[in-house]
């Protein structure tokens, strides 16, 4: 097992591939690294395998071949070190917001007292701005609020890495904007390492330090070409950007056009 080398990447994915037998591989030769504190987005068409990669990173699925390392150790199954925010909030409907997050906190630190757990819960509920709803059940919350609880739950366990699977896909455009701002504020504040899947180009440009462009697998005259990471784009925009002022920044449209071009024309395997 390779030892952790400084600068070699906090999260290292090497030659990952996944095939759902007997079909040919959905993607192959996927390799990338993540540094601590980085926010990386992966963007691509449906079916290219983004969620599968995330599930492999979360430990909920396993790769057909290739390796994934975090902090020099190979990933083996789900772990509290990799928190997940699911696309559908996945809150437990029989628990209040407080108890939902407390469940996660107790899983992480089972030796904590009730008071300590409650303090942690309240801290992260305040972080997402849901103090007023802390004792409500999920059925009493709106979609946006439920997703914020999901985010608070993932942050409350203070994982080494956060995995977000299109967390805002089910929200309307207005709510999405508000929560994107909040997520960015929280991530900057906690210096969290984040890997996020998204369909929204503007969201990727707002939040990510690096954007991975993934292509779909396709049939070519030479046979089946599985999907892979076609390109890695480093976000040139200044780190202190806001949603409101994003489109005024230099280089925004160049970046945006480049990504949209990719999705429209080059999303097929190169």
């Amino acid at each position: 097992m390779p030892a952790a080398v400084a600068g070699a990447g906090f999260l290292r994915i090497e030659q990952l591939s996944k095939a759902f037998a007997p079909a040919p591989a959905v993607f192959a030769d996927v390799s990338f690294t993540l540094d601590r504190g980085e926010f990386v987005c992966i963007i691509g068409h449906s079916g290219c395998g983004k969620t599968t990669i995330l599930n492999i990173l979360a430990g909920l699925d396993s790769a057909t071949s290739g390796h994934a390392f975090m902090d020099g150790r190979e990933l083996a199954g789900p772990s509290l070190e990799r928190g997940v925010v699911f696309q559908s909030h996945a809150l437990m409907p029989w628990l209040t917001v407080r108890r939902n997050i407390a469940f996660a906190v107790q899983s992480r630190w089972p030796e904590w007292s009730a008071a300590q757990v409650d303090a942690q819960v309240r801290q992260f509920v305040a972080l997402v701005g849901l103090d007023a709803a802390i004792d409500k059940k999920p059925s009493q919350l709106s979609g946006g609020m439920k997703q914020r609880v999901g985010i608070a739950r993932a942050f409350a366990i203070q994982p080494k890495m956060l995995l977000l699977d299109e967390p805002f896909g089910a929200l309307d455009a207005l709510t999405r904007g508000t929560i994107q701002d909040e997520l960015m504020r929280i991530v900057r504040q906690t210096q969290q390492t984040v890997f996020m899947i998204t369909h929204d180009v503007d969201e990727a440009i707002l939040l990510a330090d690096r954007i991975l462009l993934m292509s779909n697998g396709r049939e070519t005259p030479d046979g089946w070409r599985p999907g892979n990471i076609a390109e890695t784009v480093v976000n040139p925009l200044p780190r202190e950007r806001t949603r409101a002022g994003l489109h005024h920044l230099d280089g925004y449209y160049a970046l945006r056009n480049h990504i949209v071009d990719f999705l429209v024309t080059r999303a097929r395997a190169s």
């Binding site: 430990g59 789900p78 509290l80 699911f86 029989w94 059940k137 999920p138």
Partner: protein
């Protein structure tokens, strides 16, 4: 508004009750009442009538009792529910207590078997398929068919009654628990695995609360069956209990007591169902 509708429904129920009582009264008015009067008969004629079995002095309950007679009997039972005049003559509350005790014990045993077994079957498709033929064959067997087997092996009639309650009320709980556990949403299980929740904690904190409404529905159905079974079982094996009371009073041809006991059985069954419905409401959640 719900309150207005509730009021209307209550009034309609009352009206239905009065109509039913009225029909009852009309239907029994002709057949009920005293036998032939004693006036105008010589001593020999009275003796002759008695020999024929038509004692003029006796007021026989010939035919279906009237509501008035019914009311009198009910009042007699309800005002003195705890009397104990020997093995065949006890107050209605004592009879009920015995029946409820047997039901409680049989139901509890059924719970202790059905919920854990249902849990295991629900979690493992393999075990589900393996147990399925046994469940499907044993489920439709009537309690009365179990009785001879139980009496022969267990010998004690009271314990046989409890066993029969157990074997008949275990199936709805078992199947509902298995179904509830198998239907737990995958995303909640995914959350539990990303939080590294141990299997036992996951069973109690995620799977059980998620399946609780379905499990409690099964319990409610099982309780209904258990109450049905105890009456039938007690008729067969005797002892103290509301079922045996019905059978005993039938042998005494005391129809008023039989009808009274039937009504009591119905009311107690309804109360049991209502209490389980309340429990069910407490564990129900909205997604």
């Amino acid at each position: 508004m719900t309150r207005a509708m509730n009021l209307k429904a209550a009034l309609l129920s009352l009206l239905l009750l009065l109509v039913l009582l009225g029909i009852w009264q009309l239907a029994t008015m002709s057949s009920g009442g005293a036998g032939p009067s004693q006036a105008g008969m010589t001593a020999e004629q009275i003796e002759y009538q008695k020999m024929l079995g038509k004692d003029p002095g006796q007021v026989k309950s010939a035919g279906f009792p009237t509501p008035a007679e019914m009311g009198a009997t009910a009042w007699k039972h309800l005002t003195n529910p705890f009397y104990d005049n020997g093995p065949n003559d006890k107050g209605i509350a004592i009879q009920l207590a015995w029946s409820l005790g047997r039901v409680g014990l049989g139901f509890l045993l059924a719970c202790l078997v059905a919920v854990p077994l249902g849990f295991v079957i629900g979690m493992s498709p393999l075990l589900h398929k393996a147990f399925d033929p046994f469940i499907q064959v044993l489920k439709p067997i009537s309690p009365l068919a179990w009785m001879p087997l139980a009496l022969y092996t267990i010998k004690d009639s009271s314990t046989s009654g409890i066993f029969v309650i157990f074997i008949c009320s275990v199936w709805p709980m078992l199947l509902n628990t298995a179904f509830g556990v198998a239907s737990v949403k995958r995303e909640w299980l995914a959350v539990a695995s990303t939080l590294e929740v141990k299997p036992l904690r996951r069973a109690f904190r995620v799977i059980l609360p998620a399946a609780a409404p379905t499990i409690l529905t099964g319990m409610r159905i099982s309780m209904g069956i258990a109450w049905l079974v105890i009456v039938a079982a007690e008729m067969l094996v005797g002892g103290t209990g509301i079922g045996y009371f019905v059978w005993n009073e039938w042998n005494n041809l005391s129809l008023t007591n039989v009808i009274f006991a039937i009504l009591v059985i119905g009311v107690v069954g309804m109360l049991l169902d209502l209490s389980f419905a309340a429990l069910q409401r407490r564990v129900t959640y909205v997604e």
